[in-house]
């Protein structure tokens, strides 16, 4: 377990040390540089504006869909679940790529405008575009949070408010919204933290117009090899993330006694929409989901079959789209020329190895915390959960700085990616395992002890078996992340350790263009879908198995 402490704390301490390291002399000069630089504050204010816009969009979109899903008698509720799930599966960078392909100056829509002799002025490189891309990926968090909260609201609380004379408005503002508030706040913090940590969308849609947010400023600073400034900016971002995390924990704790027990009343009265409103809502939602999920996916899919070179459709406006403009060429290059095999295999290898190790480490930490209570196990749990507050890009920078000097010189090897993945994945696995182990009966372990079983015997024979659901879902969730993850592998890869995320992000700069990016994106989406569906089927299967064995 000492190694867990080492891989988590060593890079962070190194980052701290680096922030004072001015060419071998320890001083505060980098802090002075960073905090007197107006660009830092501009990046910070841009980040805050972006967070505010994303928060607003995700709250409105996710909240409205959740209310329709739970509180109305809308006939096509499954449709909402399916499309929300699809949005979650598509990484925000792919939304950004789709947006560029469809709405960009040389995008599909501009070509339609050209044919119609209309002027096209939409600028895809803007705050609103970046905010929309991030929101489309993150509104499912709000949707799931509000949906679960709404399902918990006891209908009798609302009924009781009605019988004492509440008007509908009074009921909404004094009873329903206050009861939904904890879900809005907790999902809001998640959205804020994720927007703060996002690099790829800002790099894709904001950097080209010279607008910086904190992550792109850090990356820029790293590119100019100003390591101490990078370290200071990184620590500043860690500080902001930790503040967000602590405030969200504080609010969660404050709201603990305001939590609702599951309603015993299963007849959930819904808002009766009637036939006309049902059809109207179906039309509105169909258009909405077409625009926010189907259209981006179709754009990506379509673009993945486009030829890159020698076609007038691309080199000049005015040519109609012909079948011979389409080809399997992008996929053939990816598969036949082997462009995708190494990154795909690397993602499998690094993700798989890190996921197995993380799941094992997490299971031991949770076991020690639950059944060997003491200051050491509590400290171990806290340290291993620390990275949950740190954005991926900062984890990558800390690893890069820490693991390139002796005695731990892993830079340029696959080990550095795997170690950083382990640091990133372990807290996620801990969360999954903890949710399962909370329901375990302590008496089982006490019974095993009275029968003379050793600690390891209990861990392997009883505990691992009892937490298998959490262990497996934790493994799959982190394994899935490794296919979509960009900042860590982008900063730590070398020619031989390129991952799928790196290929997705970087392939367009290798003269392949957005068409090849789209082909990689389609593969990433398909892999994500397969793993996610696998996760759902496995969870269902395990539930069924448990029901039949209990």
């Amino acid at each position: 377990m000492a190694s867990v402490v080492l891989i988590v704390l060593y890079p962070i301490l190194h980052l701290l040390f680096q922030s004072f390291n001015d060419n071998g002399i320890l001083n505060f000069s980098a802090y002075g540089d960073v905090f007197t630089d107006k660009h830092t504050y501009r990046a910070l204010s841009n980040t805050i504006v972006l967070q505010a816009i994303v928060l607003l969009i995700t709250w409105i979109l996710g909240g409205t869909l959740a209310i329709i899903r739970v509180k109305t008698n809308y006939k096509h509720k499954k449709m909402i679940d399916v499309f929300v799930f699809l949005s979650l599966v598509i990484p925000p960078f792919i939304f950004a790529t789709a947006m560029k392909l469809f709405l960009g100056n040389a995008g599909f829509l501009s070509r339609v405008y050209y044919h119609l002799n209309w002027d096209y002025h939409f600028n895809v490189y803007s705050f609103s575009s970046a905010a929309v891309c991030l929101s489309l990926h993150m509104y499912p968090f709000v949707y799931y949070g509000i949906k679960n909260r709404l399902l918990l609201i006891d209908e009798d609380v609302i009924n009781s408010a009605r019988t004492v004379g509440s008007s509908k408005l009074y009921l909404i503002f004094k009873v329903i919204i206050p009861m939904l508030m904890p879900a809005f706040i907790s999902t809001g913090f998640l959205v804020i933290a994720r927007t703060l940590a996002n690099y790829s969308v800002s790099a894709e849609l904001l950097l080209p117009i010279g607008t910086e947010v904190l992550t792109t400023r850090i990356y820029g600073s790293l590119s100019s090899l100003a390591l101490n400034r990078t370290a200071v900016l990184s620590l500043f971002m860690v500080f902001l993330s930790v503040v967000v995390f602590i405030v969200s924990l504080w609010i969660e704790k404050r709201n603990k006694n305001r939590e609702m027990s599951v309603s015993s009343n299963q007849e959930k009265p819904t808002i009766n929409l009637g036939n006309f409103n049902n059809k109207l809502l179906f039309t509105i939602l169909s258009i909405l989901f077409f625009l926010i999920t189907i259209l981006p996916f179709i754009t990506i899919l379509f673009a993945s079959f486009f030829k890159r070179w020698g076609l007038k459709f691309f080199t000049g406006f005015g040519e109609p789209l012909l079948w011979n403009h389409l080809s399997f060429g992008n996929y053939l290059i990816l598969f036949k020329e082997g462009l995708i095999w190494t990154p795909l295999l690397n993602s499998f290898m690094y993700g798989g190895t890190a996921a197995i190790i993380s799941a094992f480490i997490a299971s031991v930490i949770v076991y020690l915390y639950n059944y060997r209570k003491g200051p050491i196990s509590s400290l171990l749990l806290s340290i291993s959960q620390l990275p949950i507050t740190i954005p991926n890009i900062i984890l990558a920078i800390a690893s890069m700085i820490a693991w390139r000097t002796s005695p731990f010189n892993f830079y340029g090897t696959s080990t550095i990616i795997i170690i950083t993945y382990i640091v990133l994945f372990t807290p996620i696995c801990i969360k999954q395992i903890q949710s399962v182990s909370q329901n375990l009966d302590v008496a089982i372990f006490q019974a095993a002890k009275t029968m003379g079983a050793s600690e390891w015997k209990i861990y392997f024979s009883i505990y691992l078996n009892q937490i298998r659901n959490g262990l497996f879902s934790g493994f799959l969730i982190v394994f899935l992340i490794s296919f979509k993850e960009i900042p860590i592998s982008l900063l730590l890869y070398t020619t031989n350790s390129k991952t799928l995320g790196v290929l997705l992000f970087a392939i367009q700069s290798n003269n392949y263009g957005l068409e090849m990016t789209s082909a990689v994106a389609v593969i990433v989406i398909l892999i994500s879908l397969i793993i996610n569906l696998g996760l759902i089927f496995i969870k269902k299967g395990l539930k069924k198995y448990e029901q039949t064995t209990n």
Binding site: V164, G165, S167
Partner: protein
């Protein structure tokens, strides 16, 4: 006169299901404590929801205090917030984000009471329900009994003209139930509010009720004072539902013993009304149970099981042939 009249209401939740209540009628007297007693799913809670307006019947009429709240023929349906009825839910239904004080003050705020009036009324109610020391606590930090007291207080604080209580003691343990049922009756007597109390627990019903209405499958089977119901059950369902009863099928020996002849098939006899004697109906002892103050003997009479209570079993053992007489009985409708 705060009389409640329910005339021929029919209720169903959706078009695909049958009626929960069908042509249901009931009259509740002014200041009466009426207990609706029935097993789960018989429609008791639906009845309360219909009275309060939370559920709209498909047809019928609900009149209270000479005001018509629901009349399907006139398409009249007063919403629940306009009916001024107190409703206490089985699961308390307290707002989880409001402390005890704010939960009690909530109905008064809704009804736009002045601040000073709210304060004095809430303090008065806090003392009445003995919750003053918990006024700042959130519902989730209270015990079941405490939550129930707050829920009752909230249902009463705005002086409703009718109090509807939906299994308010169902989630509590036996001792707490006894204490709280006394408090509920005390509240009724003090506030003099017409009360309809729904339960499946006959002990609660007998402790609290002025009258009991027995419900089965959306219909009232029998209504009367607890003594009427206990002594004269109308049919097999009520006889089986209320207290311990032997339901015996008439045969020639029974006619002869009781000296009657009836076109009805069954009679009900309480175990305490059967005595063992030297003569009477012949039966065999199949089981003996010790139940604390007395013994319960199971007798096989012509393949019908008969239970009787006796103080001592010194003279009896299993498989003995014994004779019994019936002191009191009720002839049942089928």
């Amino acid at each position: 006169m705060n009389k409640l009249l329910i005339n021929n209401i029919s209720v169903k939740y959706d078009n695909n299901s049958g009626y929960i209540l069908e042509d249901f009628s009931l009259e509740v007297h002014d200041q009466e404590f009426l207990v609706i007693l029935g097993s789960s799913g018989c429609g008791k809670s639906t009845l309360l929801k219909s009275i309060s307006g939370l559920v709209s019947p498909a047809k019928g009429e609900i009149i209270y205090n000479n005001n018509c709240y629901f009349d399907s023929s006139k398409s009249l349906n007063t919403p629940p917030e306009k009916r001024n009825m107190g409703y206490c839910f089985q699961n308390y239904a307290l707002c989880p984000h409001m402390n005890v004080y704010r939960n009690l003050a909530f109905p008064l705020k809704v009804k736009k009471y002045r601040k000073a009036g709210i304060k004095s009324k809430v303090c008065e109610m806090l003392n009445f329900i003995d919750m003053a020391r918990y006024k700042s606590k959130l519902p989730n930090t209270l015990s079941g009994g405490e939550k129930q007291r707050v829920a009752l207080g909230r249902a009463l604080i705005y002086d409703p003209t009718l109090l509807l209580l939906d299994e308010p003691l169902a989630n509590l343990d036996a001792n707490l139930k006894r204490d709280l049922s006394k408090s509920i009756r005390k509240i009724h007597d003090e506030f003099k509010v017409t009360t309809i109390y729904v339960t499946h627990d006959q002990l609660e019903a007998f402790e609290l009720a002025d009258r009991i209405a027995i419900m089965q499958e959306g219909k009232i089977i029998q209504i009367g004072t607890p003594k009427d119901i206990y002594d004269s059950p109308k049919n097999i369902f009520v006889a089986k539902f209320i207290g311990r009863n032997n339901i015996l099928k008439f045969d020639a020996s029974l006619y002869k013993l009781l000296g009657i002849h009836s076109n009805k098939k069954y009679l009900a006899v309480r175990p305490k009304d059967i005595i063992l004697s030297d003569m009477g109906l012949e039966s065999k002892i199949t089981d003996i149970k010790y139940l604390g103050n007395y013994y319960e003997l199971s007798l096989d009479y012509n393949n019908q099981m008969v239970y009787i209570f006796i103080d001592s079993i010194d003279d009896y053992k299993i498989n003995d042939i014994v004779y019994f007489n019936i002191q009191k009985y009720v002839i049942l409708n089928d």
